[in-house]
Subunit: 442 residues, 2 copies
């Protein structure tokens, strides 16, 4: 594919270009130095959670597996790299045959994590593993940030469903990934059709203020909507006067009206008033949906209000104050020579400045207390203690280049709910605090 | 295309699915009500700048034009909409022929904006214009947020080049758009190969700590890099001991060494120390690149340090605290009947809650004072005053469905520099403050 042929504003021919240039220049230098084939272990982890957060949520693992499978250098990509003289001829030849043939282990999607948790481990030659740094971090840092925000919102919402509506507030494809991560974190549905198409997430949505304003009166607009979408639709009642709109909505749709949506004003006050009015009009089953710059705190503050569903946009897709995680991809062990049998040696940056990390290929386990509640995230480089053997967190995702752990999105969503239930109760407090589990290194 | 055929983790068949479901249900209801063909004017604007910011930067206009051209409902999309019963048969038939045939006007990309500035105006039938809401807002809200952060960083950096390195901190395709927006805002280059491929932005990058750790010694790593990439490369000097690394770097590459990169520690202190050391080693032309969680304030604090270039990641792609703009897409005028000659009537939401807007199709102009410095953003709905006729900000981007204002990215970049130069000096203060221009409504 030539750049001139591109049509979609987001077209790229493969995931191989979601890569920082230095990965290819490192590859070139390592190929020439004869070090490219040293067996290497890279790990993804974060040194800290976002300030005040008590747990992180692994989001994007399934997308990582797709990205690794599609990480190929076709002729369009190779032509680009050659034209711009990004790498030399031997490197281009090596890239032409590239596919990842190593192993990937990781915390399964939806699992929670803490500072130092090895959420993903990539093993292969240095050459094949170093290339995946950027695309893996892009996906995990973005998706995990959204999943964590979604999880907190879902905790705040309790049994009430959450609707993801943030597409307009983020990049058009980040929006699709955000809807997916929100679903993992506990959201019920999305307004984003691309997310419905791509990931089979339930989509919802009925009308905006523009629809009311298009018509000669709110009455005409409501009638048009009910005529076309039926009485179970959701009518938006805050374009002019909410009380008058609710009255008219029930008059037109009947007491079987599905729901009304309130998108502005004092939601707490309005929800109570509208509920009372709906009940008085005989529309006791008509639901109330609220949408208007909600975050987990606003959702929690509406817990006692007669609200049936929340629509969340901006704060969801921007991670509720933390739009990215600080996951890094670090070489933690490598062999001294090429070949599968050369022993691995732990390595780590040692300079000043706080960016140090712990060398060695790691396992991780979550240790329960006597009541079965998690009490520590245990990370180690040696043998796994017997009592933690069946508490290990990393599962194999890719074996010899083949994906072995593909799963439906609902599995990640269910796993997240279970993981959260296994944490101490303080995990679900919205207030700022420390990570609910300490990380212990063995 | 069937969802099962998708390979890339981001595959979508066209931009038509970057759409909230309610746009299609509104379309269906309007088609049935006979109101879908009423001529309508939608405008994109923001009610406020991010807190403390003095100006906004229009980013993404070029991507909007691509997205509108690719907004087509092919059979794969139509099958999806039919299978999920998202819209009815008449609506599917209407969508099959869809292409936007209206007009789009807007602030050209790179221009600055203020609260109330009509940064984009879409005119057509209600049906054809309502569908574009989400994709237009996604692009403008994301790209403008990054462009604004980039602009502030470029102001802080002065003549020193800025390198965009944030791909790993955001969604893999948001990263490509972010690199593009950063370039518009004044960045010189990007680490992201996809951005180089897609938008022809210069790419840079040499090596990471992993490359040093791969080798048996830092000396081996530096030699491998210089052997392959030449003496003009940039060596990363903070894996172990910076002073020793700098000494060795010059020993291996010679005094012609291109640059050293410092990625951790006290950058101010280290830059001074490394500069002195390089000068003493005869490497007076060797540059110093710093990278480590920089934002505009950190860049400004290094203004007096001997730094030659800045690499910026997280804070750039997350809009330096403001990852999205609050742009909205509102119906501001529409006809009472179908057809091109029915007169337009201003419309606006009138409910409580602060989400009101001003009806009517708007023009905008930037009024200069006697010295030619901008003093007000003037927005009006009536005739344009003669003295502002040649100061108007909106240009036609699409005429009758045809894009008429495509331009190279450098044009947007140059325009941004000129727009900033036309503002009062206080625009380039990094401190928090009000918008530097008041918005006046006529």
């Amino acid at each position: 594919m030539n750049a001139a042929d591109l049509r979609l504003p987001v077209d790229v021919p493969s995931t191989a270009l979601f890569t920082d240039r230095y990965e290819l220049t490192m590859l070139q230098a390592a190929l020439r130095a004869g070090t490219a084939d040293r067996r290497s272990v890279f790990e993804v982890f974060t040194r800290r959670l976002p300030e005040g957060r008590r747990y992180g949520v692994v989001g994007g693992t399934g997308r990582v597996l797709d990205a690794v499978e599609n990480f190929r250098f076709d002729s369009g990509v190779l032509d680009f790299l050659a034209d711009r003289r990004i790498v030399d001829e031997p490197t281009l030849a090596w890239l032409a045959d590239y596919r990842f043939r190593g192993d990937i282990w990781g915390y399964p999607e939806g699992e929670v994590y803490f500072p130092g948790s090895p959420v993903l481990r990539v093993e292969g030659t240095f050459a094949e593993a170093v290339l995946l740094e950027t695309v893996i971090l892009s996906i995990l840092n973005h998706d995990s940030a959204v999943a964590a925000a979604a999880s907190r919102m879902a905790v705040a919402a309790g049994d009430r469903p959450l609707i993801e509506m943030g597409a307009r507030r983020t990049h058009e494809l980040a929006a699709v990934a955000a809807a997916r991560a929100a679903y993992v974190g506990g959201f019920a549905s999305t307004s984003d059709l691309a997310a419905g198409f791509r990931y089979n997430i339930p989509t919802v949505g009925t009308s905006a203020h523009a629809f009311t304003l298009l018509h000669d009166s709110e009455r005409d607009a409501f009638r048009a909507q009910v005529d076309s979408l039926g009485g179970s639709t959701t009518l938006l009642v805050d374009t002019y006067d909410v009380t008058e709109a609710v009255r008219m909505a029930v008059e037109i749709a009947g007491p079987e009206l599905g729901a009304v949506r309130i998108d502005s004003g004092d939601l707490l006050l309005l929800a109570h008033r509208v509920r009372q009015q709906l009940d008085e009009l005989g529309a006791a089953k008509t639901k109330i949906v609220v949408t208007s710059d909600l975050d987990e705190y606003a959702i929690a503050s509406l817990a006692a209000a007669p609200v049936d569903a929340y629509g969340v946009g901006t704060q969801l897709v921007t991670g509720s104050g933390h739009p990215t995680c600080s996951m890094v991809y670090k070489l933690v062990a490598r062999a001294d020579a090429a070949g599968p049998d050369a022993p691995l040696r732990p390595v780590a940056k040692k300079s000043m400045g706080g960016k140090t990390s712990i060398g060695g290929r790691k396992w991780a386990a979550r240790r329960p207390d006597a009541d079965g509640v998690a009490e520590a995230e245990v990370v180690g480089t040696g043998p796994v203690p017997a009592e933690l053997a069946d508490r290990q967190l990393l599962v194999q995702l890719v074996r010899g280049g083949e994906t072995v752990a593909r799963e439906p999105l609902d599995a990640a969503r269910d796993r997240h709910r279970a993981a959260l239930a296994g944490l101490p109760m303080s995990a679900i407090q919205l207030s700022r605090g420390e990570a609910v589990l300490p990380t212990e290194y063995i």
